[in-house]
């Protein structure tokens, strides 16, 4: 088993999760004695989202985010489940590391936001300049820290120097030593109320943001860009942009198909909680949407590999995204009605 003792002797069990931030949040709650699963945290904190940000680029590729802003998952989950929690950022790296050590000495485990590029134990395929990767520090060891990274199966060691670098990256990508932990949590949280809040918030995020790059409208925007891309950028460059999108769908700790499977798992659990058949149906619909996204990424990979050139075109990839957008719009409109009927 992957068990590690914190400073005060309390055991911490490491569990692998699909996504970093939900994994960290559920581990923090589990450590305080509230048994809550990763999909549940994802649903309650309304982690599902879509945003296409062509003006922000990482390694020359635009961002298409399938999740809400980094940092919001813990904040919203902690607020909705109730409890006493601390969120901090620092200007001075030395002060940030000192305070981390002090908090660890009191027997707390601490969640941190780090930059993926600078984490020493990451391999080449994970190393890119993204500052929203979340990890848990369990305790200090000789020359370093014992770290539980939910996207990795085992506990890892990290040098103090490497961690300081990953926490304080100079420049605009700086996570500023973002650090969070729970002092105490509500031992019997009102899950039903929290679920309803989370679902309503998700509906608003997906349908009601009046900007064309977020939510369902953002998907359509991306689809149009994908269809036009070979004419505008040339085949090679268009392939690279498409590969960048697929990486956001599959690779960045999404649990498959841009968090859609994770969200379906949440509805499956919520259906049991409320005893509602409608929610079980929603779960099936979300699974189908997830399969649709998967189909898009397979099509994209076939375009890149140049298999079946007549069938697998950029227009087909774009139309698959449009299909996803239509289905998700219908899904969240239905969810609005279903949530209204649920009673806390």
């Amino acid at each position: 088993m992957n068990t590690e003792l914190a400073v005060n002797g309390k055991p911490f069990v490491h569990q692998q999760g699909a996504h970093c931030e939900t994994g960290v949040t559920s581990a923090l709650f589990r450590y305080q004695g509230v048994d809550i699963s990763e999909p549940m945290i994802f649903g309650i904190s309304s982690g599902i989202f879509f945003g296409y940000l062509p003006f922000m680029k990482l390694t020359h590729l635009p961002i298409s985010a399938f999740r809400s802003k980094p940092g919001s998952v813990f904040r919203k989950a902690a607020k909705r489940l109730g409890g006493d929690f601390v969120i901090k950022t620092y200007r001075d790296p030395q002060k940030g590391m000192d305070e981390l050590r002090e908090v660890l000495k009191t027997g707390q485990i601490v969640g941190l936001a780090t930059n993926l590029y600078w984490l020493p134990y990451m391999s080449e395929r994970h190393r890119w300049n993204f500052s929203g990767h979340n990890i848990i520090v369990i305790r200090e060891i000789e020359n370093g820290f014992r770290i539980s990274d939910p996207t990795i199966g085992d506990l890892v060691d990290c040098s103090a120097d490497g961690l300081a670098q990953a926490r304080f990256v100079p420049g605009p990508m700086n996570p500023r030593g973002y650090m969070y932990y729970t002092k105490s949590v509500n031992p019997h949280p009102d899950l039903r109320q929290a679920c309803i809040k989370g679902m309503k918030d998700s509906c608003n995020l997906m349908l009601k943001i009046p900007l064309p790059i977020f939510g369902v409208r953002g998907m359509r925007f991306l689809a149009k860009k994908v269809i036009k891309s070979p004419d505008k950028l040339g085949f090679q460059e268009a392939c690279r942009h498409l590969a960048g999108t697929v990486r956001w769908v599959e690779e960045t700790g999404t649990g498959g198909a841009g968090f859609r499977y994770l969200y379906a798992a949440f509805f499956h659990e919520a259906a049991g909680l409320f005893g509602s058949d409608e929610l079980a149906d929603m779960s099936k619909e979300m699974t189908a949407i997830g399969d649709n996204w998967r189909e898009f990424s397979v099509t994209a990979a076939r375009i890149i590999k140049q298999k079946d050139k007549e069938v697998e075109t950029f227009a087909k990839a774009g139309s698959l995204i449009l299909q996803c957008a239509d289905r998700e719009e219908a899904f969240f409109k239905k969810l609005q009605k279903v949530v209204g009927k649920l009673k806390a």
Binding site: R125, T151, A243, R247, A265, R294, A300
Partner: protein
Amino acid sequence: MELEDEIFDDGLPKAYYKQNDKGQYVLEKKANAPWAEKVSCSLIILANRANLEEIRNAVLAGQKSPLCYYMEMRQMTPGMLAKAAGIAAFRVKRHFRPEIFAKLKPSVLNRYSNALRISLEEIKIVPTI
């Protein structure tokens, strides 16, 4: 071994949600990554490597300064490097020219070496393989 498998054979497998026979969702640990993911990831990594190699050759040919190579290695843009080092973006771009980079004062080089986390000796040359 193909390159795609080589990149993904790093001992850090991720977990994916999958449906089991009863329709419940379970987390499949240490699973193989989907094919689409492997293809697109290796494409991006290959493109990055090729880009870096191109810049290295340009530096050796005397067309660009080593600063450009190290910036690309850290996956930064001139704007990001400018903010990180505290030097105006137009100056950073100017320093990509080798003849101007060669005349830089140690104080300016120091700022770059702190921002890129590369030692002062290394920042003046690029690795020759």
